[in-house]
Symmetry: C2
Subunit: 345 residues, 2 copies
C-alpha cells in the first residue's frame, strides 16, 4: 500500500437484504500446477493468456500435467470471494455441472457467506468447467480453460431478484465467449438500469476482447458505468497505442475506468481526471493469478460503500497484493483484517 | 538431515519390469482447510487423529469448513508418490469412485509414473473417499475421513501380478477398517510370501490399532517383515508404557521396525539393535500431515535398493522433512534432487 494510506470511512454498509456486489461469470475449478520447465509451451499454450480449449484438448492438457491442486476459481467468482473476505455482502450467479467439482465451487462461495444462484447443468450438458493453470517461476500464469457447464449459462439460469438487491452488478468479459450468455447479459443490464444498480464490466483478457471487439465497444459505450481492465486490454478495446489515448476514449464516453498496471499499481480515470495509485508492497510475488480479480474486489466493494474511485483503487491494490503473495487466485488471509490494519476499512 | 550424512550407494535399481514398492491403501482426496480457531474441535473431532465418519457426518463437517484445497491423499498413496519423486519404480492398488475426485486421484499418481491398478466403484457404491484435513497453527493435522469407494476394496480389485513384480508390498493399517479388505490383505500377504517379496505394514493410527488390535498383533507376529509406526502406535500395539519395552517386543518377534518420533527423528530396531536417526532440519514446520507417509517413502525405497535400515531411515527423515515444510501430504520438491544434494542417493 501507499505509505500514507488515506483513512476512509467505508462503513456505509448496504441496508438489510441488500448486496454490495453481485458477480456473474464463469464458474470454474482451477487445476493448478507449478511449471518450472516451460510445460505450458510444450503443450502449445500462449503464455499469460487464457486459452479456450475443448474437452478433447482439455484431456490432453491435463494428461500432460503433473500432480495438481484443485481450488475454486473463475474470475468474477474470485472477485466475489474477495469481497466476502472484506466483510461485504455479495452474490454470485453462474452455472456448474452436477458433479463434485460443482459441489466444491458452490461450497467455497457459500462457506464465505456469499449468496449464490448457481444453476446445475445435467450431466449430459457438461461437467463443471475447469481452468488448467500453469504457474511459472516468474509468477506468471497461463490458463487453458474448458468451459463445460459454464458454457451453458442462459437467461433462465439467472435470478434477476439479485440485481434488484445489488448496488453493483459485476460482469466478467469472459462471458462473451458463451453465445447464449450474451442474451442473458443484455437482460441483466436492462434489469440493472431499471433499478439504478451500477453496471461494472471487466475486459478479462486481450484475446477475449479481440474475439468480441464490437460487442465490448458497444457495451462500454452504452451500458457500462464502471470499466476494469489492464493496460493491454484497454488498448485493445480502443485500438490505442498508448494508455493516454485509451484514457481519452473512456473520458469521452464518461465511463469510470480503472486500469491495473501490474507492479506500477493502477490508474483511475474519473470526473477528477486520471490519478495513479501505487501497487501494494509485496515481499515475494508468487503467482499473479487473481491479481486483477482481487483488485476488482477492493475497488468494487469500496465503490459500493460510497468511497471515491481513488480510495477504491487503494483498497483494490491491497487485495491484489495479498493474492499474488501465494499460489491460487482467492485470498488466504482475511482481507477485512488486512484492510483494517492498513487503515482502509 | 544429520550434518554428516552417510553417503550410500543406493543405486541398485530393480531390474526391468520390477517395482521397488507396491502400496495398497485407501485412495482418498484430501480436502484441506487452515484451522486458525479450533474449528476441528467445534465439529467434535479428536485432534491429531484420523476420525472415521459416515456420509451424513461428512456432509455436516464439509458444510462447516471454509473454502478448501483439494489434493490427492491417502497414506500409502502418499508414500508411493514420494517413492516416485525419489525416482523409484512403484505401484499402487486401491479403489475410487466413478467421479471427478477419482479421476484426480488416478491422474496424480499416473502423472508421476506410478503403475496403478485402481478399481472404480459404481456410482451407487460410493463416491471417491475423502479426508477432511484441518491444519492448525501448531502444524498438527486432524482428519475426518469418509471412506466412500475405498470402503469397497475387495480381493477382486487387486492385481496380484503387482506382487510378483515388487521387492516390497506396503500395506496401510487403515485398510483394517474395511471388513472386505482384510480378506484381500491376507491373500496379498500369501502372494508376497510365495514370491519372497517383503511385507511392510504401517500401523497408521492409534485409534485404528485399538479398533483392530488382535488382527494387528497376529499380522505383526506372523506375516510382517517390516513394521512402521510412531511412538503412540507401537506402544498401543504391544500395550507398552515405554518405547523400550515396545522395542523388546519387536526384537523378540524379529521384525525390522522403525518408529518415528517427530522432531526427535526415528529409531530403528534391527539385528544390530536399536539405533537413533535424527530428524531433518526444517526451517518452519507448516503441516505435519504426511510426515509418517513420506518417512516411509524414503525408508522403504532405500530398503528395496538394498540399503541397511539406518541408511534407509536417513532417507526417510529427508523425505519427511520436505513434506512438513508445506501444506499437503505429498512432496512439492523433487525428492530425488534433495536426496542427491544430501549425498543420500
Amino acid at each position: 500500500m501507499t505509505n500514507t494510506p488515506t483513512p476512509v470511512s467505508l462503513r456505509v454498509k448496504p441496508g438489510p437484504g441488500r448486496l454490495a456486489v453481485t458477480g456473474v461469470g464463469n464458474a470454474l475449478l482451477d487445476v493448478i500446477v507449478r511449471d518450472h520447465s516451460g510445460l505450458h509451451a510444450q503443450l502449445g499454450l500462449t503464455k499469460g493468456a487464457m486459452n479456450l480449449v475443448d474437452l478433447e484438448r482439455a484431456h490432453q492438457i491435463y494428461a500432460g500435467m503433473g500432480p495438481t491442486v484443485q481450488v475454486s476459481g473463475g474470475s468474477a467468482a474470485n472477485t466475489i470471494a474477495g469481497i466476502a473476505s472484506l466483510g461485504g455482502t455479495c452474490g454470485f450467479m453462474g452455472k456448474v455441472g452436477s458433479d463434485e467439482f460443482g459441489d466444491v465451487f458452490v461450497h467455497d462461495l457459500s462457506s464465505l457467506g456469499v449468496e449464490t444462484s448457481i444453476a446445475r447443468a445435467q450431466a449430459v450438458d457438461g461437467a463443471t468447467g475447469r481452468c488448467h493453470v500453469f504457474v511459472t517461476d516468474d509468477a506468471q500464469r497461463t490458463m487453458a480453460t474448458y468451459l463445460g457447464a459454464a458454457n451453458q449459462l442462459r437467461l433462465d439460469d439467472l435470478d434477476l431478484s439479485f440485481v434488484e438487491r445489488s448496488e453493483i452488478i459485476y460482469i466478467e468479459g469472459y462471458l462473451f465467449d458463451l453465445p447464449p450468455a450474451k442474451e442473458a447479459i443484455r437482460r441483466l443490464i436492462e434489469a440493472a438500469h431499471d433499478c439504478d444498480a451500477l453496471v461494472a464490466l471487466t475486459l478479462s483478457d486481450t484475446f477475449c476482447i479481440e474475439r468480441h471487439l464490437r460487442d465490448f465497444v458497444e457495451l462500454v459505450a452504452h451500458d457500462v458505468d464502471v470499466l476494469l481492465a489492464n493496460e493491454g486490454e484497454i488498448k485493445t478495446l480502443f485500438g490505442s497505442s498508448t494508455l493516454e489515448s485509451a484514457f481519452e476514449a473512456v473520458e469521452e464516453l464518461g465511463v469510470l475506468t480503472v486500469v491495473t498496471t501490474g507492479p506500477n499499481g493502477a490508474q483511475v480515470s474519473s470526473v477528477h481526471g486520471v490519478v495513479s495509485v501505487p501497487a501494494a508492497e509485496v515481499e515475494t510475488v508468487v503467482d499473479q493469478n487473481g491479481a486483477g480479480d482481487l483488485f476488482a474486489s477492493g475497488f468494487l466493494f469500496a465503490l459500493a460503500l460510497g468511497a471515491d474511485p481513488v480510495e477504491a483503487a487503494e483498497l483494490g491494490s491491497l487485495c491484489a497484493g495479498e493474492v499474488i503473495s501465494h499460489i491460487g487466485a482467492r485470498p488466504e488471509a482475511s482481507l477485512e483484517e488486512l484492510a483494517a490494519a492498513a487503515g482502509l476499512l
